[in-house]
């Protein structure tokens, strides 16, 4: 056997090492290329980051609105206002009576005194109330219907039943309003999902176009690699990684943009919530949501690169 015909024996372990090396090489060389042409890289990344930040902000708006309606949901109960003439003893008696009711899950009793203190604490009209000799507030019993009463009609029937009691002044039921709110939330959520899908498509196409230009710039390299026996997988590897890096950078930027947006909104939102005497904390993306932004952005980058390479590589002749 002549020297040239000696088979190039490569063991499995060496092959694995070489394969990993080839990936590492493509991984870092693609990053190096992006860093080497910072202006065009930054422009692409910012366009993508804005699109992704937009999608993430829509999501955060929905998440915050959900948080708001979520706390309302917890008060999905009947507020039973007793007549002003009912005294504490009668009120307690009526409370015990309601406790026996089969359709009520739990009850809480707010005495006149408690109601007054709560009102003083929350409204800021404490000084005005000092002037009054009598406590004008009624006893309130809050009743949470059993879960089995999901039907609007059944809950209304319960409200009417309690309302018919001579000691009861009025029963407040926020069910209808809550349902409308939930429907609006659902619509909002669906809308955001659709818009985000469109934005994802935009991200894929923007990345794809960037990769296409990169491929045009490096046509010679691709051609020569093909001529020395490179497989498609080898040729496209660095481009796929370029897509990944662009996506990753865009994801990180989008996250920063989102934080800046939320920080900017935080003050006004708190002020607004203060005017409503409520404690509303603006939700920021948690760890999982942050990772989701970065991961899906990277994934979209890879998808964009891959979709373009699928047909563009074949256009560079020879096969």
């Amino acid at each position: 056997m002549t020297k040239a015909q000696v088979k190039n024996n490569i063991g499995f372990k060496d092959k694995l090492h070489a394969y990993l090396f080839s990936h590492l090489h493509a991984f870092f060389s693609s990053l190096g290329r992006l860093v080497a042409s910072p202006v065009s890289s930054i422009m692409t990344v910012i366009v993508l980051a804005v699109a992704i930040a937009l999608a993430a902000s829509f999501y955060m708006v929905v998440a915050n609105a959900k948080q708001l309606t979520g706390s309302i949901e917890a008060s999905n109960q009947l507020s039973v206002f007793l007549k002003a003439s009912v005294n504490e003893q009668q009120g307690r008696e009526f409370f015990r009576e309601l406790q026996q009711h089969s359709n009520i899950q739990s009850l809480s009793y707010i005495s006149k005194q408690q109601a007054l203190q709560e009102f003083k604490a929350q409204s800021g009209f404490g000084a005005v109330l000092e002037i009054l000799s009598d406590n004008p507030l009624p006893i309130v019993i809050q009743a949470l219907p059993k879960d089995s009463l999901k039907d609007n009609f059944e809950i209304k029937a319960l409200a009417t039943e309690i309302g018919n009691h001579p000691q009861v002044d009025v029963v407040q039921l926020d069910m209808d309003w809550l349902r409308r709110l939930q429907a609006i939330m659902q619509m909002l959520g669906r809308g955001v999902m659709l818009i985000n899908a469109l934005l994802a498509i935009a991200v894929i196409f923007i990345t794809g176009n960037t990769i296409r230009l990169e491929l045009q710039n490096r046509k010679d390299e691709v051609l020569i690699a093909k001529l020395v026996g490179a497989t498609h997988a080898f040729v496209q590897r660095p481009f796929i990684y370029t897509g990944f890096w662009i996506g990753l950078a865009a994801g990180l930027c989008a996250w920063l943009i989102l934080l800046v947006l939320l920080w900017t909104m935080q003050g006004p939102v708190e002020q607004l919530s203060l005017l409503y005497h409520s404690q509303f904390d603006l939700l920021f993306p948690n760890l999982l949501e942050t990772l989701t932004i970065i991961f899906s952005s990277s994934l979209l980058g890879v998808l964009g690169a891959w979709s373009v390479l699928l047909h563009q590589l074949n256009l560079i002749k020879p096969q």
């Binding site: 020297k3 040239a4 390299e221 020569i224 093909k226 020395v228 490179a230 020879p318």
Partner: protein
């Protein structure tokens, strides 16, 4: 090693470039391919390198019918070849080392193996010590030798060279041809397209002559 069986190639724009070409090359043989410019030399080499497909007839390389080769297998078949171009086709933004290492990277060699083989190939063409230079910092002759090092680094079974001395002076040409002889002596099949008749005749190897797409002797 190589067999052309009544091969014809036609381009829509220029018509027949090769007509009914038949010849064979044994393993370890060295031959020159000559003819006037436009006679079809480059096209013939492109058929072997799978850069083009024959319209009629068959090309066999190492026993494989190239017309029937699936696109998936083409890269692996190409690794049996070492291609050398008149314009060198080097990557100007990569060092000499990286240029020569490309076929090894592509074939999946490890880093240490690559370094070893690249140095051996550069040593063979007399460019050891210039690994870190960029192609444009080298002379034409040196660039061509980088191209040769890249072609032989993966120990191909066959070397195809398209006008390898086209841009070199007679002395350098002689040197390059001598390199090819050395590869032939270790068993590599070598086919060189060249119109440098004086040099070819002096060397005394088999000559395949193309005239308007037909093989007139060989």
């Amino acid at each position: 090693m190589l067999k052309f069986d009544h091969v014809s190639k036609r381009y829509p724009e220029t018509g027949d470039v090769l007509t009914e070409v038949s010849f064979e090359m044994r393993r370890g043989e060295m031959a020159f391919l000559t003819g006037h410019s436009g006679a079809g030399k480059s096209t013939l080499l492109k058929l072997i390198a799978m850069m083009e497909l024959a319209n009629r007839g068959q090309v066999f390389l190492d026993g494989q019918n190239l017309n029937r080769l699936s696109p998936r297998k083409i890269p692996f078949m190409r690794r049996k070849l070492g291609l050398i171009f008149q314009d060198y086709k080097l990557l100007v933004d990569k060092t000499v080392f990286d240029n020569v290492a490309l076929p090894l990277m592509v074939a999946g060699y490890g880093r240490h193996d690559i370094a070893k083989r690249v140095r051996a190939a550069l040593d063979k063409v007399g460019l050891l010590g210039k690994e870190k230079k960029y192609p444009l910092a080298l002379s034409g002759g040196e660039q061509q030798r980088v191209g040769i090092a890249r072609a032989v680094v993966n120990k191909p079974q066959m070397i195809l060279a398209d006008e390898p001395t086209g841009n070199l002076d007679p002395e350098l040409s002689q040197e390059v041809m001598h390199l090819f002889e050395q590869f032939q002596q270790v068993g590599v099949t070598v086919l060189i397209a060249s119109h440098d008749l004086f040099l070819i005749k002096k060397m005394g190897y088999r000559i395949l002559k193309l005239d308007h797409g037909r093989l007139v002797n060989g």
